[in-house]
């Protein structure tokens, strides 16, 4: 590619970003950002605008003063830079404007049409990014200067999968009983083999069946990206898999809560079923909340079942590497599969998962960076006013309808001014922590009962309890930052992936992958329904 030619787009892209950053830094866009609820990212928007704009100008100036060469700097920086910045600009547009705008629009339309479009169609940055990429490629086409940058899409998606490992920790996995882990493993592997078998039956390309099996077995985007290089899947096959999973999830979001209520599942059973049967994390959460918005247990169980599936990713990659190698007639032994075929970036995912489990980013028992801190800590105390409100309520006996343990949790909150374990047990960290957490769950149950109109709470008492619970809920800054990077990597990569999908390719894929997806998805949902009803009773979390 002639780098001199690529200078104009670089100057234009750099100019747009710097001008945007300048305007944003004057707070001129603040009212719009507040309307879109993106004002908290103002500093990030300004910083990214200046850094990316600066990089563009830097690249353009270098192009002006030196002749294009074939060095690593030319191949990996100067050549793809315009394309990378083009994708980044679109990722910014999606994250800061398109996604919030779709949310606001569907919120406003909800009273008229009866549901929120963005929730039902899952119109988050994943879908919007892919859609925008597909639309650009099939209308104006990929601009010539951006072609080299679009080739970075898969590479950046891999970085997203590596970063995903930082969000999870072994402690969450350990909370599930052995039963549950067997259950999840059985369904993950079962679905993978079912899809592979169906793929053979419907004469689908191996690459399509391979990537679809991982997507249907584990979960949407991350599994698709992780498995694609192992089964040599094309971009359109990856996009098709993501599309199939999301479409199937939309149906599940409506059907699951309805069936759950019809058969009288308890919150834990429904959480386990949704976490096993629905694929996309956001759709799992939506179904759990639709089933029971009051009992936090449903969502928690569903989410834990869901994330545990992600941790099966390395195993699925191994299984599919062996399957693909065998089916393409290669002689396979342990070394070929585990060392030669196993993608290095999945090792990166595992490495970050191990670092996360070891407590490098957050206390080991975190979940997506959130953790509960019931240790003695001044920062987890309630205010003096809140203490007075609670103390009066306890002394006057105005807290009616609470269970014995709920009342005990409130009394202890008054006694210790914070949610914590027993002072005498402070040397036994495990017991201290457990007692504190139990008290927090009791206080959460009080709020849930109030929400369900089972009891009546004074506004100030409710506020004090709410604040006490909020005080012990902490969030790791490190995991939050790593998650932000992951989201940006996925947004960038998915726009680029979308740009590699032409109408012709979609037509060639036909509707069979969708049929296979629906058959395997329904089978999994039905089987997991009976297994959950049969095996999962009330307690699956330790």
């Amino acid at each position: 590619m002639n780098q001199e030619k690529s200078n104009t787009p670089l100057f234009i892209l750099g100019g747009i970003m710097i001008v945007y950053a300048l305007i944003a830094s004057t707070n001129a866009l603040l009212p719009l950002m507040k309307y879109l609820h993106t004002h908290k990212t103002l500093d990030l928007q300004v910083m990214m605008g200046f850094i990316c704009g600066g990089l563009a100008i830097f690249g353009a100036v270098i192009n002006l003063v030196r002749k294009p060469g074939t060095s690593i700097f030319d191949r990996f920086f100067l050549e793809p830079l315009p394309g990378i910045l083009f994708l980044l600009l679109m990722a910014m547009a999606v994250r800061w404007y398109a996604e919030p705008f779709v949310i606001i629009l569907s919120d406003n339309l909800a009273p008229v049409i009866g549901f929120k479009i963005y929730k039902v169609l899952n119109l988050n940055y994943v879908v919007l990014g892919l859609l925008i990429g597909v639309i650009i490629t099939n209308t104006i086409g990929i601009p010539g200067f951006a072609a080299s940058g679009v080739k970075c899409a898969r590479f950046v998606l891999k970085m997203g999968v590596i970063m995903l490992g930082a969000r999870y920790s072994f402690a969450e996995l350990a909370k599930l009983g052995v039963y549950s882990i067997w259950l999840i493993g059985f369904f993950v592997l079962g679905t993978v083999f079912l899809v592979l078998w169906l793929g053979g039956l419907f004469k689908q390309p191996k690459s399509m069946s391979g990537v679809l099996s991982a997507g249907m077995g584990v979960c949407g985007v991350s599994a698709t990206v992780a498995v694609a290089p192992v089964v040599k899947a094309k971009s359109e096959e990856m996009a098709y898999t993501i599309g199939t999973i999301l479409s199937f999830g939309i149906i599940c979001m409506f059907v699951f809560p309805t069936i759950g209520h019809m058969v009288g599942m308890n919150p834990v059973q429904f959480g386990a079923w949704a976490g096993t049967g629905i694929l996309n994390s956001a759709q799992v959460a939506a179904a759990a909340l639709a089933f029971n918005a009051v009992d936090i247990k449903t969502l928690k169980v569903a989410e834990i079942f869901n994330i545990t599936r992600v941790l099966f990713l390395p195993i699925i990659v191994l299984v599919l590497a062996a399957w693909f190698g065998k089916d393409t007639g290669q002689k396979l032994n342990f070394k070929t599969v585990v060392i030669d075929k196993f993608p290095i970036f999945i090792l990166g995912f595992l490495l970050l998962f191990i670092m996360s489990s070891a407590g490098l980013f957050s206390p080991p028992s975190h979940y997506k960076g959130k953790f509960i801190d019931v240790s003695y800590n001044d920062r987890t105390r309630i205010t003096d006013e809140e203490w007075n409100v609670l103390n009066n309520a306890v002394n006057e006996g105005s807290l009616q309808g609470l269970t014995e343990s709920q009342m005990a949790a409130v009394v202890d909150l008054v006694r210790q001014r914070q949610i914590a374990g027993n002072f005498d047990e402070r040397d036994n960290k495990k017991l201290f922590d457990k007692t504190g957490r139990d008290r927090m769950y009791e206080l959460e149950a009080i709020l849930a009962a109030e929400k369900a109109n089972e009891i009546t709470l004074d506004k100030d008492v409710k506020g004090a309890i709410k604040h006490a619970i909020k005080q012990v809920h902490k969030k790791s800054k490190t995991v939050t930052a790593l998650t932000d990077f992951m989201i940006w990597f996925f947004a960038f990569g998915l726009i680029g992936l979308g740009m590699q999908i032409t109408k012709k390719a979609i037509m060639q894929a036909g509707s069979w992958p969708l049929v296979i997806g629906v058959i395997s998805g329904v089978t999994k949902a039905v089987l997991s329904f009976f297994v959950v009803l049969w095996l999962v009773k009330d307690v699956v979390l330790k």
Binding site: I142, K151, F155, K232, P343, G348, L482, Q500, A505
Partner: protein
């Protein structure tokens, strides 16, 4: 390895800028895939992704935890 003089055209899509001419003996699937990446091999791509992620993680740890 003796290289064949015969060439064939492969479809590399919009991102690969249409079609490319390659040797008939070449591994077409591998080349099609490489045409959609800036890296010459899967291993290089994975290693670079891993190294960049570790650098990012290290920087995030410095700014959010250790400083």
């Amino acid at each position: 390895m003796v290289m064949s003089e015969e060439k064939i055209k492969i479809e590399t899509g919009e991102a690969g800028k249409g079609t490319s001419e390659i040797s008939k003996d070449a591994n077409v699937e591998e080349l099609e895939e490489r045409a959609l990446s800036v890296f010459s091999s899967e291993r290089n791509e994975d290693m670079t992704a891993l190294i960049l992620c570790l650098i990012t993680t290290f920087l995030v740890l410095i700014f959010t935890k250790w400083l």
